[in-house]
């Protein structure tokens, strides 16, 4: 056998190896696709069998949620409104704080100050949510009680406020990215017309970055809706249809936690409820995530 043949053989082996690696890597990359499929499948199986027993219209029209009681009611609204209420309060904190900080960092702060402040603010996002839950229940609620004496020990206000603080870095950092991506030429144009720094920031840069900021806000909302531990610890376990932020409520996520902690038997109807609620939650956040990506894409189309 000549040397050429050997090298040819080796080359074949090499190509084979390269292809094998490629296939391997492709498979690994597809884990994400499988995970999504897995989530849908895991949620769907028990959701379908839940709705086989409880018709969808009951789920959507009843106003009480008592699947663990003898008199079972399956109206999801108390959970949904509680979720929206806590998320709304969180956004009341996170949007103004996040935006103001983003504008400050992007348009006012010197590069050095930005380099120091940004990681400091990011720490807020790195604190485990269970710690925030502790903080809401043990520190914030007693503090609020001084001003709102009738506030319950578990309430959506405290949980929402703390959740808002947790989400500030998400809004701030994504919005800051969007603001910084606005070309400097626009700032120059506005400064050249005699605009002040504040006017440049609010009238030119912020509107120009609006779709990017919208993406940040929607993503933050999705995060608030899916947040679990803070509300499970501090917002209470009482599914009631109310918009009063001072009383205990139960969000979709805290319901899932409550059932998971209990000894609900596998396969029972009450067990299946967490998958129905989980599907609702997944759909809700999925729609928001898609919306957020749309905004991001629109923003990129303009500036990249």
């Amino acid at each position: 056998m000549s040397t050429l043949d050997i090298s040819l053989q080796r080359q074949r082996a090499r190509t084979f190896g390269e292809n094998l690696i490629r296939i391997f890597l492709f498979a690994a990359a597809n884990i994400s696709v499988f995970t999504t499929a897995g989530i849908v499948l895991a949620l769907a199986t028990d959701t379908v069998s839940f709705f086989a027993e409880v018709p969808l219209w009951r789920y959507l029209t009843e106003t009480q949620w008592t699947p663990l009681f003898a008199n079972q009611k399956f109206g999801v609204w108390p959970l949904v409104t509680a979720t929206l209420l806590t998320s709304f309060i969180a956004m009341l904190v996170a949007i103004p704080f996040g935006l103001v900080i983003a504008i400050y960092l992007s348009e006012f702060a010197s590069p050095r100050l930005r380099a120091t402040l940004k990681p400091l603010i990011e720490i807020l996002a790195g604190v485990p949510t269970v710690v925030y839950g502790f903080f809401a229940l043990i520190v914030v609620t007693p503090f609020l009680k001084q001003f709102i004496p009738q506030i319950s020990s578990f309430n959506s206000l405290s949980a929402g406020l703390v959740m808002g603080v947790m989400i500030i870095p998400l809004v701030a950092s994504l919005s800051e990215d969007a603001l910084s991506a606005v070309p400097d030429a626009l700032r120059e144009g506005a400064f050249g017309l005699g605009a002040t720094r504040f006017e440049v920031a609010t009238r030119v840069v912020t509107p120009a970055a609006l779709s990017g900021i919208a993406a940040a806000v929607v993503l933050a909302l999705s995060r608030a809706v899916g947040e679990t531990m803070i509300v499970a610890i501090a917002a209470g376990q009482n599914p009631q249809l109310t918009l009063d932020p001072t009383v205990p409520v139960m969000t979709m996520t805290s319901y899932i936690v409550q059932v998971s902690l209990g000894d609900t038997p596998y396969g029972s109807l009450s067990y299946k409820t967490i998958f129905a609620v989980g599907s609702t939650l997944f759909l809700l956040t999925f729609v928001m995530n898609i919306l957020s990506f749309r905004f991001v894409r629109r923003f990129r189309e303009v500036y990249e």
């Binding site: 010197s110 070309p183 400064f191 050249g192 017309l193 509107p207």
Partner: protein, 282 residues
């Protein structure tokens, strides 16, 4: 141009001292006196004395890196945006130093407008692009007066006929040349006395360039224009006066010569100007 003016100008160019001897000459819209611009410890422009005549077009030319953009941007204090920038000497406008401590930068920039290298319309409608300046500068005209102002600005920028039916459309949807004229209209709307143009045609095609050059000739009836350009032919075509800048060995920019444009291009006094000007033509 009158003979008298021309002769004054020649005298100016031949002796800087003489310019200084008659500060605040009403024929000057803007005057840099012994102006140096620093970025930190780096001196970008050194000791420039440059009078800018009213209702004339003054071109700043020179090889890249010679500080002509920096000089231009010091005329409306745009350099203030660069952290660590500072100036020595002064820029005089209506007898006042733009860099005096009590001077309001915002007002300076309204009265000395700027058009940039790349057209930079705001991502707003054509109408809002033009109305932006008057709004932020506290013009309290009625809606119909604002309409009138927008129309007048667009007309003066020779853009009205092309956009009058689509004022609500985004300014960014226009062609490059139209965008640049929109930026000119935007600058005009706040009634500046001086318009600074930083290579306004370098991103445009020849047809759009020609249109802007024609426009500049009409604009100079009402405004004083200072233009930085790379393009020797453009400087020769559009400007009345030309200042030639060079980079010194220490990389600071300096003005080596200023004169009537035809003099600069036909019989410059400085050898370097002659080389540069003819080199580009060659």
């Amino acid at each position: 141009m009158s003979l008298l003016e021309a002769s004054i100008m020649r005298a100016d160019a031949s002796a800087k001292e003489q310019t200084l001897a008659q500060p605040g000459d009403p024929a000057y819209a803007l005057e840099a006196r012994n102006l140096s611009v620093f970025y930190g410890s780096f001196c970008a422009v050194r000791d420039v004395t440059l009078p800018v005549r009213k209702n004339m077009i003054t071109a700043l030319i020179g090889p890249s890196g010679c500080g002509k953009s920096t000089l231009l941007r010091s005329f409306n204090r745009m350099n203030d945006r660069v952290p660590g920038s500072r100036v020595e000497g002064g820029v005089f406008f209506h007898g006042q130093d733009l860099y005096a401590p009590n001077m309001d930068v915002v007002d300076v920039r309204r009265r000395i407008g700027m058009v940039f290298q790349k057209p930079n319309p705001f991502p707003k409608s054509i109408y809002e692009n033009v109305a932006f300046g008057p709004r932020i500068n506290g013009w309290h005209g009625s809606k119909s007066q604002m309409d009138e102002l927008v129309e007048a600005s667009l007309r003066r920028a020779a853009l009205w006929d092309e956009v009058k039916d689509k004022l609500k459309q985004p300014g960014t949807a226009l062609s490059g040349g139209q965008q640049q004229r929109l930026c000119i209209a935007r600058a005009i709307a706040v009634q500046p006395e001086v318009i600074l143009m930083d290579e306004p045609c370098s991103a445009l095609d020849p047809v759009a360039t020609l249109k802007i050059e024609e426009l500049m000739q009409t604009l100079k009836q009402d405004y004083t224009i200072v233009i930085v350009t790379h393009n020797m032919q453009q400087a020769a075509r559009v400007s009345d006066y030309t200042a030639m800048m060079m980079m010194r060995p220490d990389r600071a920019g300096e003005m080596i010569e200023m004169d009537e444009t035809k003099t600069i291009f036909s019989r410059p006094r400085d050898k370097r100007t002659e080389d540069y000007v003819s080199g580009r033509f060659g």
